[in-house]
Subunit: 353 residues, 4 copies
């Protein structure tokens, strides 16, 4: 971390800042130039509060060199984290496909879809039991019953299940759930993240609609700091001025995240675009860009289902797509395609902080 001092900084105040920094376990090194004085900090700066420093009268600006996340940082953990759920692996070179309905509607519905997506090659089943809805008058999900139905589908098909948590008080209901999802709207529900850090469940952490890549990593850090190393990151679209799609899928986040963190990164094109007929194209782009997997909505039998989901694929489209996605991923993951990845690993050995 580099602190640029103000031109006429009071020297007693500067001394007081340096003393405080030493108390935080970092060593300040002052460099006096003709134009400006700089203090470089040596040591672990991840616990230094940048906003606090920036607010001091003697400081013009603060520049981080070391990222503020440590457990999630590839620099300190060069090898890919592989999250293992039974026989399913997320991360480490494969392409994991999670599919299922937006909402769990009935035992028959979710079990039927589970069989169909399994036949198409899905690795895990997704389905919403607790549903975050903008309106208090909209369907809020089947809640406990929805989780029971999901677990029934798991028992029948053997597919591990992923479902969202909205309140830490519901945690007991997730005992047999394989992966707990934290939705975009809860990405910065820090109390929830802390509690999930205390569990040993794999966590699927979705990026918030207005959150940066760095903030996503800081939220992952909350879970990791609690001792839970099983975190899967998910890009699901950010909010922009464009209105044709519900959100703007930020696929650039995938190579950025793969460089910055060892955690696996998957993509949710269904929620991002919100229109089923554009989902296959974006799923393929997700595979090509180097994501570790996909989470996609699939519903059954739309003509008879009222809630058929504008953003959901039919099982037929999903099955035709899944195989192609893995080919696409294999082509994208070959060495020359990402020519700097090795260099990224080498850079991870550098000691700059």
């Amino acid at each position: 971390m580099i602190l640029l001092l103000k031109p006429n900084a009071d020297s007693r105040q500067v001394d007081s800042v340096k003393a405080w920094l030493r108390g935080q376990g970092v060593e300040p090194r002052e460099v006096i130039g003709s134009e400006a004085t700089i203090i470089g900090l040596i040591g672990d700066t991840s616990r230094i509060d940048v906003e606090l420093l920036q607010s001091l009268d003697v400081i013009e600006s603060v520049k981080r060199i070391q990222e503020p996340y440590k457990s999630a940082n590839r620099k300190f953990h060069p090898d890919d984290t592989i999250v293992t759920i039974g026989e399913v692996k997320v991360g480490g070179g494969g392409f994991t496909i999670i599919a299922g309905p937006c909402s769990v509607e009935s035992e028959a519905q979710v079990t039927d879809i589970a069989w169909r997506v399994k036949s198409g090659g899905a690795d895990m089943l997704r389905g919403g039991a607790f549903k975050p809805r903008t309106s208090p008058y909209a369907f809020q999900g089947l809640r406990e019953t929805g989780i029971d139905y999901l677990l029934h589908a798991k028992a029948e098909t053997g597919l591990p299940v992923v479902t969202e948590i909205m309140d830490i008080n519901h945690l007991d209901l997730y005992e047999h759930v394989d992966v707990i999802q934290v939705g975009a709207r809860n990405m910065q529900n820090f109390e929830l993240l802390k509690e999930l850090g205390a569990t040993r469940k794999p966590i699927l952490l979705k990026r918030g609609l207005a959150n940066t890549v760095d903030e996503l990593l800081m939220s992952a850090e909350y879970v990791l700091a609690g001792g839970n190393a099983q975190v899967i990151l998910c890009e699901r679209g950010i909010r922009t001025f464009e209105t044709q799609t519900r959100n703007t899928l930020d696929l650039s986040a995938v190579p950025v995240l793969r460089e910055k963190t060892h955690l696996p990164v998957i993509v949710d094109p269904s929620h991002a675009v919100g229109v089923a007929r554009w989902v296959p194209a974006l799923s393929m782009a997700a595979a090509a860009v180097g994501a570790d997997g996909l989470i996609v909505e699939v519903h059954n039998d739309p003509p008879h289902a009222l809630c058929d989901g504008a953003q959901s694929l039919t099982p037929e489209v999903f099955c035709a797509l899944a195989d192609r996605l893995r080919q696409m991923h294999a082509l994208g993951a070959a060495p020359t395609a990402h020519p700097r990845r090795r260099e990224g690993a080498l850079r991870a050995l550098a000691t700059l902080n």
Copy 2:
């Protein structure tokens, strides 16, 4: 609500949609034109799930005429809601000033600031006890102890207190807190909103960084739907590409909200701009634009405080500002300044839904 059907919509499917709509308590009226067929819905459409309708094969698009919020809607409640906290009123024509430190640091600090802002004319004291922080390594607030200190300052000065809740499990700690704040990051923590709807505490609901005015009103509706009518809305900046200010304060939201809802609307310029020296100008703009009040950060004695807050005013600046703010508000609130407000009230009597 108006449904535009697709050109070749299957008539049996259309019949099935109409039957479902009647089951939802609204009457569909079909209008067949040469270019398109339209179904107009008569009755209370606030519980109709627009996304579900949009996802149906037979429907081209859906247009709401009636807003999806009912309890928060000025159309159905033309008179301003006044939230009353002891002798303090928020809404109804005055300009309420809430001031205090970003974080509660000690009993002496918060009590001292409380006396100072009271002398400057503040109506309520704010102070963070539970602090939402992007980094798990940053100071998370004094938590329970912070609330004790705030309540001590309240007992000393008589100022009602506002402080943020981050987890419904902490609710018992807020028994003597006057106004419970829901932070921007929890604006769509729907489970929390539901629980707060079951209390009878005034709620200060901050707009999320990437949330629309309509979504803010839907989140208020969660609290109102639970039977808690005491909701104060707060504009605190949205996320844009501009980097000079931390966020972009959206003051247009004030007249928009005043037209759409009867709930009081206050402005938080401190978090929005993040730089103390720009806060007075934006505070005055908030008073001029017709807000019902302001929530602003004030700290004491910056040279000796390490956490003096880049975004906090000194007590001296605050005191010089507060009086002027009320003059500004009075000038802005005079009748010709908002010439259509009366018309807005008249329009509220219209029966269009």
Copy 3:
């Protein structure tokens, strides 16, 4: 187009609006419901000014059914437009690669890069002669001389050339340029677009940093309306709050545009992300998502070049990438991957306007 009237709309004013609409060549059909009165417009509404209608006292809101672009609209031109430049085709199923330096620096530099990208399989050469720069003190390009150098490289290698125009007064210099680029900052320079519509040069039209897909199509319409049918659209990143990448590449725009327009759509990942090591991954995503081509920055010999371009690939990386891109595109373009494209074509036959 559907006009929703206000509840108490003055009937004489409504009559006057209807008369005006007939004068514009469309037939208004009034539909009186119990809740609201609607006027449906029959005929070609592309010339109707929506903002003007929305501003009228009697009108609550206006909803377009027919898009405001006609020449660019796939509904009226179901077949893909293929822009032909000598032996190179853009659109119609292939994947066209345009590569070259950000700025033309010397005859030797651009010719050397031209040979190298040609050997890697590039179809066209790009290079900036007139450079739009945020600062008046930054290098503004070699201007006329830069175009001469580009044309020299074209003469040597046979590669057609693409370069940006910044002022219609420079048009004469572009006589032997094959494709004229309109940059993101000029996407809504309507006077320039009109003049280019009067030429018969292929135009590469880049999406503005804050422009919607519909606005991009309206700008294309300016060129098409002038009689120039040779327009290539280019997605190059939009401005969001994310700061890791220079802009956010909106790959969703590709399937959206392919559905809405018959014009070819290419992607510029170099300007979007601004960091060379992330360009290959996003290039592959562009191929997978169904784009018709790529425009990418390639520089030579970075150790000896001062302006080696943070966003430029080396020729070696480019050559390794180009072949793979075409495989990726072939895999993405296969029929089941975009299962609704055929349906899109069928829909194009529908008469709804």
Copy 4:
């Protein structure tokens, strides 16, 4: 400017960078720390190309201390610029009001509005002759004739006139126009800015919909660098995800700009919000926040005008508003309201670059 070198930067490359920097007229001072090596640049860095430096292999990051604009920078020109148009002054402590119709429609219309806004206290007349329209089929303005009508209204009423230029080839038409407006869509039409820098006409430069405050200042710098010192900046709303208002008026930009530049700053609330009934509230906020003036749309006699402009005030509302705006501005401009302005001026004397 501070350059942070990469940990293992090749020393010959570093030497080559230092030689190049000296050639650019700045002196590099190297500071070798244990963690990182820094090069501080002494001298005028406004002509140094930051992107070029950032692209170099040996450089980790570049931090500007000195802003890249010099002529527009308050640091080098502490006193407010006052743009003088006849007897009207913009900047320097007053509040200048510019009013008039969105489009010039007829000689009678613009002259009538001119008389009415003059009676309400407007200082200048605005009116669009060349209109930038998203659609090529929408009304493009009366063009030459529109300017003639404006000049007629000027001759009648004595009000100076402001109107937009869209193409430098039209410059001759603006001989008697008092202030030439550059619209938001042309803010980065750098060739146009250069040409206007060569004139001696006052320029009203509007901020682009997706442009930062710094970019606005760089565009002003283009005009100033050409020798034209008469530039008025205008905030007119930026593009965000919010849809209730057409754009989001960024009033924070006013205090930011007042600190960074000596140029006057006015606000256009009409285009920003796009809804007339919200314009008065935002006009007052603009006056309170410390803007130097307002540009606002006023139309006459809406019942008989078809193009009455959703965003335009009636003359009656304008007249009631104008007087109040000046009171508001006087209250906002008083010294304690902007307590740090003096400090800003002092800071301008600091030598840090």
